[in-house]
Each structure stands twice: as C-alpha cells, then as structure tokens.
Subunit: 287 residues, 2 copies
C-alpha cells in the first residue's frame, strides 16, 4: 500500500523520475513508525524529527503533508485490522547531473505501509560487533538517511555468524548503535545510552525511554560507552519503533540475562502502556 | 534519455517499485562514463568494475545487459552529435521490509544519458578539505555505491566557501579522494595516488593514469598521503570519467601551479590521445 502525491494505491509501484536524488545519491531521509488500530505511536515526534532532519539537509518538508501520508495509511490499517509498519520517505527530488543540489528543489514524498508482526515487539536479539565504523564525523550519522548500505553489509555479516543484528562503534571506538536501533545499558540504577555526538540517530523510542526512566526508578544518562563498558552492563537493550524494546541476550560471545532484568521489565511495561495510550488501544494489542 | 528494461525512452520517468532497495536503502551501485561520437571511453573497464562491485555486494549483474544499456544510449548520442555522460545504475531490486537482502534478488538496471560539456574536460579545480571522513572501515568506501550524501554535504560546504569540490581524508587521517574523483600528487618523477585500502574507488581514469605514467617518464606509486604530504607536492590533480584530469589549483589556502606543470601536461596529452583512440574520434573532440 503506497501513499504518493495525496493518493493511496494498492501495491508499491508508481512512476518515478529516475534522476530522483533519493535513488541516485541517497539524498534523502526516511522514518519508520508503528500504527495499531489506525493510529501511529508517537506520531508528532516522528513528524517533528523528519521535518527537523530535512531542514538540516536543506530539503523542504511540510509537516501537514507528512501527517496526511501517515494518517492515510494508518487509517487503511484500521479498516483491515492490520498492525502496520509505515515507512515515510522524503528525497530532495530530481535534479541535474552532479552532486550540487538544485537551488529550488521539488522534493519527493511517499509512504508505504506493510503489516508488522506483533511478535517482534519486545523480542530478544543477539548482536555481533562489526568492524565497519559508524561515521560519526558526518552529520548524516545523526539522521535517518537513505544511505543504509553499511548497515546492510554488517547485517549480512551478522546473519552469516548466526546473530540477529550488527553492533556499530564509531570512528573513535565508542559504541554507537545497532544496525536498526539505538542501544542502552543498565548499570545499577542508571540507564545509559550513547550521546547523539557519537554518531547516533535520535530514535523516537530512545527519546521515550529517556523520558520514562525516571518513573521506573532509573536515572537516564547520555554518555559515551566503549565496548568493554557495554559488556560489563547488567543488561543491554535495543530500541526501535517496531521492536520497541528488544532485550539483548548476547553481544558476540558475551551472554546477558537482559530479558529477566527487573529494571528492564519495568521499562518495557512503561513503554507498552505508553504505546497503548498513544494508539488508543488496549495494552494487549501492543505486545 | 533513459534506458530501462531494454528500451530507450525520452525523458527520465518510468515506473519503479517504491520498495526498490536502491531507493530505500542506497543498496546499489552506479557508474559514470563518457561517450563521444557514439562510443564509450574505456567501456570494458567500466563494465568490468560494475560487475565486480556487484559481485562484492552479492547483486547479480550481467555484463552484456550493461553493455547493451551503455551502447544503446551512446548510439543515440552518435545520432544527435551529443557528447554524453552515461550514468548506469544497478540496485538490488525490491525486497521485503528490513535490511536483510532477499535470497533471490531481482536487480534493477537502468541508465541515463545527459549531454556533457567538453569544457569540463581538463578544467582546473579548487578543493576544500572537509571534516567529514571517508569511511575506509567500510567495503562500500571502495565501491561507487548509491550512498553519496556525505559527498553532497561536503560539496555544499565547499561551494559555500567558494571552492569547487571537497577533499576527503579517511578515518586514519590519510588523504582519500575528492567528492567526485581520485587524487594524484606529483613529486619529482613520481606520480602518487592513495591505495584502495585508504577508502578509495578504483576509478577508471585513475587506472588509465597509472598505466600511462611510465610512457610519460613518470613512476606510478600507490601509497598513503597525509594532507601535509599533499600540500608539499609540485602539482596535484583529480581524475574522473568526465573531467578526465583536472589540475588542482588550490587546496584550502595553498595554491598550486598544477596547470602549468610539464609532467602533468604530458599525462594530460597521453590521456587525451587514449580517450580519442577509445572513442574512435579526433583528439580535438576530446577537449
């Protein structure tokens, strides 16, 4: 199901200018959001982040148009009863040859909805550190850009070794993130996540966890972590908009009892309640 | 002018599956080649590199299909008398949500031809070093992938400061390349370019220059260079398939008399002759 230019069409095919800089140069952004019962969890945060990221790249973006795309697709999910992953893509649009952005860009906005299994929410994951660095020297490392090939390559390596996801460090050796999510570590009453300057996306669920921590008796901290720091944590977890909180049960050869950790259980319960409220559904619809 | 699925159509619009991983994840490659008089310079090298790069990413690629696309477009240029930049794009094709590549990918191949001004061949350039690192920890740094946003951002910075292009160092501080080309430095009888391991694309003109050096009385070397090394060179130049050899007249505040350097003049003459032979045209059609 594809939203394009104000219309929802079945399938995912539509005409596209093949000089679109999203397709030719990765010059664009995306967002992935979860819709249950016809409503998108943390809708405003998703829209705000996409608009702010677009501004950072100099791509014009209209919040109300993005909202129309997301809501249009979410509404179809309400009709069919599907739980949906809604991916919104914004590119700088087409342009002449070369890197230089057109002076008066005409951005391309489209969104695709696909069913998202409830079973992936809160499901545990095993991570494998990759030797590919997260390039924290680039502003793009803090944005959800279309350039995901490093993550694709690292995911392929991880899968070949029997792991679910890759763990990235940045060019200074700090832990940055997983291929598709932010990372957190629990140390006593502290819940720690790398700061954005370490080459980290301002994940929507990352933000929610930082806000919910206090109510769960935890102190939220954004500070740099080395891999040995992370391996010494009591529990580790990944956050993203579809998995919500994924307890990490292994990083390479190191096993973690994250899934049974009481503080993590409190955070998961708080996030589940928060998503249920945001979507206006009962908690058992979330996970 | 767009080649897609064996057919050339005017304009650049065509239907595309909006889940194409080239568009959604930058999961693909491209190549830019120069056609004069209906023939592509260094055609076989362009095709070989694209096929080898695709193999590195696990994307199926057929040399003869790529050749058909390039030749089809080049032939149109012969008809209209245009000198063409032919950009060939190969993506992993569409796939389900997530990073994991489909097991049986159905790649997307298309190519676009646009007029290329003769005046850019051998024209001088001014470079500005960027603080964004070339991510030499990733295999993608040695491939011409669709993820060019770092280069777009650095080009924007360079243009804002009155420069033509950005100069990238890698995560270890070695000189890597410019945003759209390889870099070379002349030191006495040595012509030096960074090795591929420094996060460098195996440029087609880079390869040609390494081959032509001996005949120009120069010793070709692939070795790492720091920025101070480069600033101490007698001459610096950029290579790519459209600019061919671009003498670098400034790197930041440091000026170079590259354009008048006799060894560089010999290399430019040799490359001009080589391109003319490859395209079967008189040398004055090249530049």
């Amino acid at each position: 199901m594809l939203w394009r230019d104000g219309t929802i069409v079945p399938g995912t095919h539509a005409p596209l200018d093949h000089t679109d800089r999203g397709l030719t140069l990765g010059d664009g952004l995306f967002d992935t959001a979860l819709a249950i019962g016809g409503r998108v969890a943390f809708e405003q945060a998703h829209i705000d982040r996409l608009v702010a990221s677009a501004a950072a790249l100099g791509i014009p973006a209209e919040a109300e148009r993005i909202r129309a795309a997301i809501r249009g697709l979410a509404g179809e999910g309400a009709r069919t009863g599907d739980r949906l992953a809604i991916r919104t893509t914004l590119t700088r649009g087409s342009g002449p040859r070369g890197l230089k952005p057109p002076e008066d860009p005409s951005p391309t906005l489209f969104a695709i909805a696909a069913p998202s299994a409830r079973s992936i929410a809160f499901a545990p994951l095993r991570l494998r550190p990759t030797a590919i660095a997260r390039n924290d020297t680039s502003p793009a490392a803090r944005l959800k850009t279309l350039g995901y090939l490093d993550a694709v390559l690292a995911a392929r390596e991880a899968a070949a070794s029997g792991f679910d996801e890759a763990l990235f460090r940045n060019t200074r050796g700090h832990v940055a993130c997983a291929g598709t999510g932010n990372l957190f570590a629990l140390f006593g009453e502290s819940v720690v996540t790398p700061p954005l300057d370490d080459g980290v996306l301002a994940g929507i669920v990352r933000g929610a966890v930082l806000e919910l921590a206090g109510g769960c008796g935890l102190r939220a901290e954004e500070r740099s972590l080395t891999l040995p720091d992370l391996l010494g944590a009591e529990a580790v977890f990944l956050t993203n908009s579809l998995r919500l909180i994924a307890p990490v049960t292994a990083i390479g050869d190191t096993a973690f009892a994250s899934a049974g950790h009481p503080a993590l259980a409190r955070l998961m319960a708080a996030l589940k309640a928060s998503v249920a409220r945001a979507c206006g559904v009962a908690e058992d619809r979330v996970a």
